[in-house]
Symmetry: C2
Subunit: 240 residues, 2 copies
DNA sequence: CCGCATTTGTCCGTATGTATA
DNA sequence: CTATACATACGGACAAATGCG
């Protein structure tokens, strides 16, 4: 097998590594990639010379951060290092603090707007016709659903994913998607949806601005998109 | 005590909530705040009617996200909902992918620069004399240390914390601090420090720009601050 | 479709280490 | 220093899920 393990002691006077850190070291030293199989819990228990309980508790920590992915009855694998942990943490923070202060949700919206606006010049420059067409049809679907009084979370999420996909910065795309999820989740807790038609139309306006070729217009369109959302937030602050 | 628990079954046809979710519900329903004490593991074991092993594994998940904080031999408390989980996750991603591609570190630096520049107008407008003086003395300390060939991580981190503290957006401050930590950690793995004096001086230039009162100059100074960092990254890409 | 081996999920009992009062 | 409450750790047993012959 020739699996490599870090030296058990390197006598540098440090305290011994935690089980979590030793498992992380294992992944790093063996240069595993997301999806690669990990040793079974019993193997880890033997090789690290700790009980299976401890291995399992360490695995819980690691899977919460998507460093490993555990499949019941099948095995454990290196995780995809996604930001699901951040999403859970922020969502809970929103739930816990939303009725005390609105700072969190306001900060979140500001951050979404800010990051999308940052890429406006690049988006105007790079956006290809296929992506634009996909965004247009999503916007049309949103308007249709809004006319029926229905919400359109899936379309909205995908629209914003496409919008920032041109940035070339994968980290920003993942972060914005997390922020969308958290915003959507917290927003559901402050009452039934409002501004449906207005928000749906705002997405058409964003594509219009892109087609105009002016970064300034795109920035303005993005700002207008977030206005009804801020308005809804301000109103909810009074009724709570 | 009159602690409230969510109804064990709400017969809406959903699958039963996980232990993790039931503990989260407990915190929400009882409106606990960070620092408030949680029931002991034995109490939770009794009240949720599951074994202590499961409680402990759930606690590991929750503490990884800083939703609870466990103090050995003392008790468990509601966590501070910090972003330590994100820091760990991103740090590991950096370790795992840094020798394959440099996109991650590049994206991280771009994001740091972008977010700091976003607040440049506000910073120029709001920064008070006390904060400015603190930043100036930090910059001086950095130059001194650089002259001795020593690094200055603590000073650098605090400088950037102060820089964005004027934004009024706590979330951005926390995110940037996480990015600083991750960047610092990954940067250590690509070799001994370089550009010490240049980087230290760049911080003086940032305060100079703030004092000039021009947001444009501040933006330029921030960009210049990140240049040697990008240069170091590009050089390391070849030697790996 | 069935049975089997593998692997993770859950539970219990007990002993140990640690912090607080 | 002692006592108590609490989290940490261990080992074993059985249940549940998955994949495969």
């Amino acid at each position: 097998m020739a699996t490599q393990w870090p030296a058990p002691d390197d006598r540098t006077g440090r305290e011994p590594l935690s089980v979590v850190d030793r498992i992380k070291q294992y992944i790093l030293v063996n240069r595993l990639s997301p999806g690669d199989p990990m040793p079974t819990e019993n193997e880890l228990s033997d090789q690290l010379a700790v009980s299976r309980s401890r291995i399992r508790e360490a695995m819980k920590t690691l899977s919460a951060l998507d460093i490993v992915e555990v499949r019941h009855g099948y095995g454990t694998f290196v995780g995809t290092l996604s930001l699901t942990g951040l999403a859970e943490s922020l969502a809970f923070r929103g739930m816990l603090t939303s009725h005390r202060d609105k700072h969190f949700l306001a900060d979140l919206i500001d951050l979404r707007e800010l990051l999308e606006i940052d890429w406006a010049p690049l988006i105007v420059e790079r956006l290809d016709v296929d992506t634009r067409a996909a965004m247009r049809s999503l916007a049309t679907a949103m308007v249709d659903l809004a006319a029926q009084g229905r919400e359109f979370p899936a379309e909205d999420r995908q629209f914003h994913q496409l919008l920032v996909s041109m940035s070339g910065n994968a980290l920003v795309g993942q972060l914005l998607d997390v922020f969308w999820q958290v915003h959507s989740l917290v927003d559901d807790t402050i009452g039934p949806p409002t501004h449906l038609e207005e928000t749906a139309q705002a997405h058409h306006a964003i594509i219009d601005a892109i087609e105009s070729g002016s970064p300034g217009e795109l920035e303005a369109a993005i700002r207008r998109h977030y206005e009804p959302i801020r308005d809804r937030m301000r109103r909810s602050a009074g009724t709570d």
